[in-house]
């Protein structure tokens, strides 16, 4: 009997979304050319409002290398609801009711959801409400609980590293301090990997609140050692020890005063007063999550996508398709939802980095 399968991408986009959907689609059609695949537009908003397109085999050709997501995505549903691009939208039922209704109206056998942390809370909710849900771990942050690796991460790390590489070559010509702001509001995986890969001298991540004085001391120490420059990789969500003590509200107020002012620029204005060298900022921003997925992510997404399709065929639901110890496993959605995989402050990579002289901004100024 022919399967009816829904698919959607939610949350911030990243590399590998299209190649993952390609794996799902190609496998479903290879299994049964009659399979009906419904692609919901702009994430949960499309499911909520029954806004979809029927996907044919040809829709999955030529998208392996394509950045972004051909289905579109959305972060905040409430924003999408008011989106001028989609005026014709009923606002009647609750969002959950709307999503369940669409699923039942289309008489779907399963729903494949590609997303990150926020997405998984909703995915679990839908699963608890009886929908046949299976998810794929999408995020450049690599902060999904239960899987060793998320797709998008290695591609984004490559780009952030490429940026640091470029800064490196120009830095070597000037006596300067360069600050590169790497994506990651809540976790430091990207900054840790890109910082090590790019040869950063200082790495600042959310998990390790930093002391601006310790950062300045590290930079000045390098200058005294006749090292021409210092490169600081700082995560968007890195906080000073003082900021780390603040409530979300207090912190928002502090930052809010400077609209769109990034952590890099904030750190720059501090260091500018504490170092003799000029300070420069680079904020690659969304450049890090755009473009074609790297080979690693293409292989990973193909393997995960095919597995998701196989599990839909086998009616194995309620799980996220993850990678643990190089094997594909299903992690129950209820275990994934609401958890965040932060960088342990004693992670071996952090120790390795410290062991070759990389600073994390938490050094003891008196005995350091």
């Amino acid at each position: 009997m022919t399967l009816k399968v829904g698919m959607l991408t939610s949350g911030g986009d990243c590399q590998g979304l299209n190649s993952a959907m390609r794996g799902v689609g190609k496998r479903l059609f290879e299994n049964d050319p009659q399979t009906e695949v419904y692609g919901f537009l702009d994430g949960y908003a499309g499911l909520m409002q029954s806004n979809y397109r029927v996907m044919k085999p040809s829709d999955f050709s030529g998208i392996l290398t394509l950045g972004g997501t051909i289905l579109g995505t959305s972060r905040q549903v409430f924003k999408t609801m008011n989106d001028p691009l989609y005026p014709n939208r009923s606002d009647g039922p609750t969002k959950l009711e709307g999503m369940i209704r669409t699923y039942k109206d289309l008489n779907l056998d399963g729903l494949v959801i590609l997303g990150g942390n926020g997405t998984h809370k909703t995915a679990n909710l839908l699963s608890e409400n009886g929908l046949n849900v299976i998810t794929l771990p999408k995020t450049i942050d690599n902060d999904l609980w239960g899987t060793d690796m998320t797709f998008g991460f290695q591609s984004a790390v490559n780009i952030a590293t490429e940026v640091i590489d470029g800064i490196h070559s120009t830095a070597s010509s000037h006596g300067r301090v360069f600050i590169i702001e790497v994506m990651g509001h809540n976790v430091g995986w990207m900054t840790l990997h890109a910082g090590i890969a790019g040869g950063a001298d200082v790495i600042l991540i959310p998990e390790i609140p930093y002391d601006p004085l310790a950062v300045a001391a590290a930079v000045n120490k390098r200058a005294r050692e006749h090292k021409r420059f210092s490169i600081i990789a700082v995560a968007e969500g890195a906080k000073t020890k003082e900021e780390a003590k603040m409530s979300k509200k207090e912190y928002a107020e502090k930052i809010g005063n400077l609209p769109f002012l990034s952590v890099a620029y904030r750190l720059a204005s501090i260091l500018d007063k504490l170092t003799v060298q000029e300070v420069r900022c680079t904020v690659p921003g969304h450049f890090q999550r755009g473009g074609s997925p790297c080979a690693y992510d293409r292989v990973l997404t193909t393997a995960l996508g095919v597995a998701a399709a196989d599990w839909v065929i086998q009616k194995k639901f309620g799980v996220m398709v993850g990678m643990v110890n190089n094997e594909i496993v299903g992690i129950p959605l209820k275990d994934v939802a609401g958890k965040v995989k932060s960088v342990p402050t004693n992670h071996p990579l952090i120790q390795s980095a410290r062991n070759i002289g990389i600073y994390f901004g938490d050094e003891d100024l008196e005995n350091g």
Copy 2:
């Protein structure tokens, strides 16, 4: 009789400096293995303080692809004088005296200077003071008067374009406005080229003061036409019509209040109020001037570098080695010094861009 040739790189670094010096060095040593080449460190500061290294043929091997400059460079000499990395420096004579003295002490036959606009003022001054000077047009800004092309420009445009490409693929997944800040404090060549090459919807350059309302109108018009996103390429030095009327001092004061705040973030906070879509910023910064030169710049720098060496051998001085109508020509330093090659507001490329619907922020809101 064996030649003694000095070489230095001054001003902001860029791609192609090392490959240009390679062309000069390889040609000089091919002509006479006994040639003495003196590389002054950190630009004019090295010449001023007789801070140099003798360069051997091997110093020019393997640097063709190397970003930055192996001699180091400096923008503001006064800063370099106080540079903690070089404490042992006399501050006695004037800078000019120091430079002339070094030249005469070393009994140089010629001095090859690689630099941009600021550099050429000093180069012309040295030439007027009797030094045998020949220069090479280095700048990612392509704003040197007298040559069709400067090296570094095409490489930097490639990177800025690559950044816009990455933003493009992520933008297509979200309904957003993306602002990419492209280098260029005084001229818009890079932003114009990268904006067209990256498929930007709005291009803002210093030569064309913009009306924030016109930019917002363009962005909103696209949203109404169901185009999911808008990409704005803005030059560091782009100014609103209001800012363009300010004196340097007034403008500095306006900006100064927000240390390290970029034009992209300033524009973002305005647009955030005038558009329904989310606004995001990308500031690639020095990433644009780092890394390996593109093939175009490697060929250009090799041709120019070899020509500079030939002219030193032929005792042809007082000129910048430029490219005009695909031919290498010498432009008198006095003609280059102090001039800036801005983008003519009626430049064919700007007309081509307008003709395919690209906005420049100067559109007439009432009849536009």
Copy 3:
């Protein structure tokens, strides 16, 4: 009155075809949203057999960065005629009659043709037969007469250079001779530029027949000078002095015995006997003409494409849109057709290359 414009891409594909068509299409629709644009499939074959698709504005969105050509192309029409993919094709009239008939049946106002040398012979023939033809100079070989630059060239040179760069870093670790085969059956522009940009030690191009012994001598001389490796950039069409004397038939017979054997492998088997070092080959092949156009080509194609559209609107036909001394000019098709722009053996770049010690295989073994 609404214009009806045809468009086709012919000959080997290259980077920039889609961005050039984008320039044409966006300009035509910006000028008049009602314009009718017909895209003929697979080059002249599509025109011949009235095999086309009507192109809408949306067809020109998102193709700026796309490699290849969305219209498809073909090199040998006779092959395409038998193409299993298009069985339903009449073979009645002559090819020329078929093309003229399609043009008249569709009542076209003009036909924009993107192609290289072969393409221009036919384009000129069509023009002489009364069709309103305008062409764009497409080829990675840069061998079109009348224009300083063709699009695709800089992009292809970048890739060939990137390949040589990669070989360089591995070569430096081994004592080896590496041969890189660069595209170019008839001219050496790509090999000359990529060879210089990649830092090749030996550059072999069709315009300068080489002596294998001179190449071996150059390689061995470097080994004796304790240079660990030698890199040879050879054009597909490079010939030994002996081969250069052969007739096309004699040469074909000589090569024909080894089907698909490349010039690189032929040279390798010779050098293997004449040098002490191991010899390795790299044949990037079509990799050189694939992928996204570089920024230079995107700007060039946009400018040329918009100009082509403007000239169609202005009814200026019978010319190729070229670039001469940085200005867009129209070169009469009859002047372009049948001519080839070879590399002059005394070209300044060749002289610059010789002046820094690059070999061209024509060195005099006795006095060299």
Copy 4:
């Protein structure tokens, strides 16, 4: 007490060798600035002939991104012995004696060896002879027994994938069959990963002997299904079912007749007769192992390199530093030596590939 540590790189070079040595060196000097590090040149040849350079901390700066190996390497020692670059070499003792003698003369505390399969046989031999040996798993082939991943692999896969990407975009414009020869004489890991990542239609690896007719059938089937082109990723060591039955000698004789003729060209001449479409070849060759390591390999090599240094400090020898289930572990050299990690023909990735319609050339022509 100050440590004396030797280091060498052996076998074919690859990305990550320098960054791995950087990890070792930086860790050793961070632990004790007085550490003496001896870098042996050109692999075991340098150890054999006491040909080394003393390495300072500065030698490990700026090499993180550098391709190749700053120590040089060699595959066949006998060749290196006759290397014209190093004439001053005694040929007295056996190679093993020479290596042991150098180790004892320098009174080394440990020897860090970076290499692949061949290298590990010798490393194990040295270990069995009482030398304190620790090794790092270097190879683009990923065929070292005992570790999940070798460094160089992901970087090389990225390049091979980039090549297939380029071919893809040009292929889509022509009705052609493209054959890309991917490195791998003995195992198919690279071809499998790059083939999947590049979206190849046919993947041929040494572990799965292929039937040329099955490959032709797959290509023609795609043509009949109106797919314009077919892309074949073939490993250097891929063999037909017939060739797989041959003895090494028989096979060598068969190939030997066509010096330097690659598997791609051999396959091309067969397919040319069995398909209607034109066939083209791309042989990226050593381009795949050159250039800067990808972020993944930089992080991996830093972690492994630091661990190797730590184990030298802790006097933990006789092991290869490997990665198993994302943890760094020591694998006894005797377990690694002489083993090869081939691709299991039932590997999940192969199954995933087959499940989305990728051919492996072993399909049953009658019932397939």
